[in-house]
């Protein structure tokens, strides 16, 4: 699993962290049932606040990517594979957007409109 954060970026750290871990789950660098590093360990490794990591973990839990259990830490949810077909569909959509020179902002707007 590769996690990248940039403290100089305008995106909040917890959001960068969540995006990075989400990506690892989607591309199978971490598999269902695998334990993520403890919040303290990850915070020390990246030189950031432990509460930032916990906030990212809570966000991922609310999205159903991971389970948080007292004493056992963060575990990649068993139900995570249901994203597999979605990820495939998204890659098809993105490829289509690229060939039509549709910008990311436009694509996001299209998806948001469809979602609501």
């Amino acid at each position: 699993m590769l996690v990248r954060v940039d403290p100089a970026s305008e995106t909040p750290l917890f959001e960068q962290l969540a995006t990075s871990i989400r990506q690892s789950v989607i591309d199978h660098s971490v598999s269902a049932g695998e334990r993520l590093p403890s919040a303290r360990e990850l915070a020390e490794s990246l030189g950031i606040n432990m509460h930032t990591v916990l906030r990212a973990y809570r966000e991922l839990r609310d999205e159903g990517f991971i389970e948080l259990r007292r004493g056992r830490g963060a575990i990649v949810a068993a139900t995570v594979h249901r994203y597999d077909s979605l990820a495939e569909s998204v890659s098809v959509v993105v490829a289509e957007a690229r060939t039509n020179n549709v910008s990311l902002a436009t694509l996001t707007a299209l998806i948001r409109e469809e979602y609501q």
Partner: protein, 334 residues
């Protein structure tokens, strides 16, 4: 007509002939000649014969048949193993170091156990009772140099060692801003095939300890301690956690020990290499190769190679080595 065997390079075909002759036929001939000579002595030998010597003389006895059969059996099993393990040859059809070692050891083993078996019977010829058998210390002392010379001779008859040239691909740091921080973690574990072999060996060791516990509890302590240390060491190398962050590269066994850290300022270069555990490291686990490399070698295929500023190279095999190497290169750059 084209047979599948035609795909084998002529070099490998030649080597296989040598493997069969030197690693299987010669050892078996030696043990068979030994068995024949020992069989001729049967009328002059006591029954049972002494097979184990303590400090004050013989303390273990067995039938002549088992003394004659055991070298044959051991040689047969080891020769088969040596031929089987070296059959495929190296990447270019040559013999790797480990192949030559196995084939030469087959000769060494057959000579040493045949000389010891025949020698231990030779001193008992003409005795009425095996209890008065003289010491065989001098035979043991003589057997090893003789076997060693024969093994060395076998090594010299085999073709020169094929060296696997490690062709590393230097890892580039992850593209991004200079302020970015990275964390990478993965686990690396032994493949299922190697685990099965290890489990069989450990179960055999456990059984041997159990038998010892039942038969001879007073002499259990030393074998038990050694056995448990071996089991603990084997288990500790099964699975490793690898972490890469601003503190450098850290590897840690699943039991928490052994562990190692390479700090970022000790890293000179990072590359991705392809590893052949048996060919380059002679096995699996925490390994030292003859060329000075060391590392955690648990699987065939991709690995991270870290060249340290002191010139030493450290290797960790893992399935996502490319990503790991990029992460480590990013950290080493800073």
């Amino acid at each position: 007509m084209t047979l599948p065997a035609d795909n084998v390079s002529p070099r490998l075909t030649r080597n296989r002939r040598l493997i069969v002759v030197i690693g299987v036929v010669v050892p078996l001939l030696i043990t068979m000649v030994g068995a024949f000579v020992m069989a001729l002595w049967i009328p002059e030998l006591p029954n049972p014969v002494a097979t184990h010597w303590g400090i004050s003389g013989p303390d273990g006895y067995s039938t002549v048949g088992s003394v004659i059969a055991l070298p044959l059996l051991i040689t047969l099993v080891f020769a088969a193993l040596a031929a089987f393990a070296s059959w495929r040859g190296g990447p270019h059809g040559g013999m790797l170091w480990v192949h030559k070692f196995l084939v030469s050891t087959s000769v060494f083993l057959s000579v040493s156990i045949t000389v010891i078996a025949a020698g231990s019977l030779a001193v008992q010829r003409g005795l009425d009772n095996a209890e008065s058998a003289p010491s065989i210390g001098s035979i043991l002392l003589a057997a090893f140099p003789v076997a060693l010379v024969m093994g060395l001779f076998a090594w010299l008859m085999l073709p020169a060692v094929e060296h696997i040239q490690p062709t590393g691909v230097a890892a580039k740091p992850i593209e991004g801003t200079g302020t970015e921080r990275v964390y990478f973690s993965t686990t690396t574990r032994l493949g299922p095939g190697v685990v099965v072999i290890a489990v069989v060996a450990l179960v055999a060791l456990g059984l041997a300890l159990a038998i010892q516990a039942v038969n001879n509890p007073s002499e259990l302590l030393l074998p038990a301690v050694i056995g448990l240390v071996v089991i603990a060491l084997a288990v500790s190398t099964l699975s490793w956690r690898i972490t890469i962050d601003q503190r450098g590269l850290r590897v840690r066994s699943v039991l928490g020990w052994p562990r190692a850290t390479i700090a970022p300022d000790q890293i000179d270069a990072v590359s991705v290499v392809t590893i052949n555990p048996l060919g380059e490291f002679g096995g699996y686990g925490w390994r030292w190769a003859p060329d000075g490399r060391s590392g955690i070698v648990l699987s065939q295929g991709e690995a991270i190679e870290v060249k340290r500023t002191n010139g030493k190279r450290f290797i960790v095999t893992m399935h996502d080595a490319q990503l790991g190497a990029e992460a480590l290169a990013t950290i080493a750059k800073k």
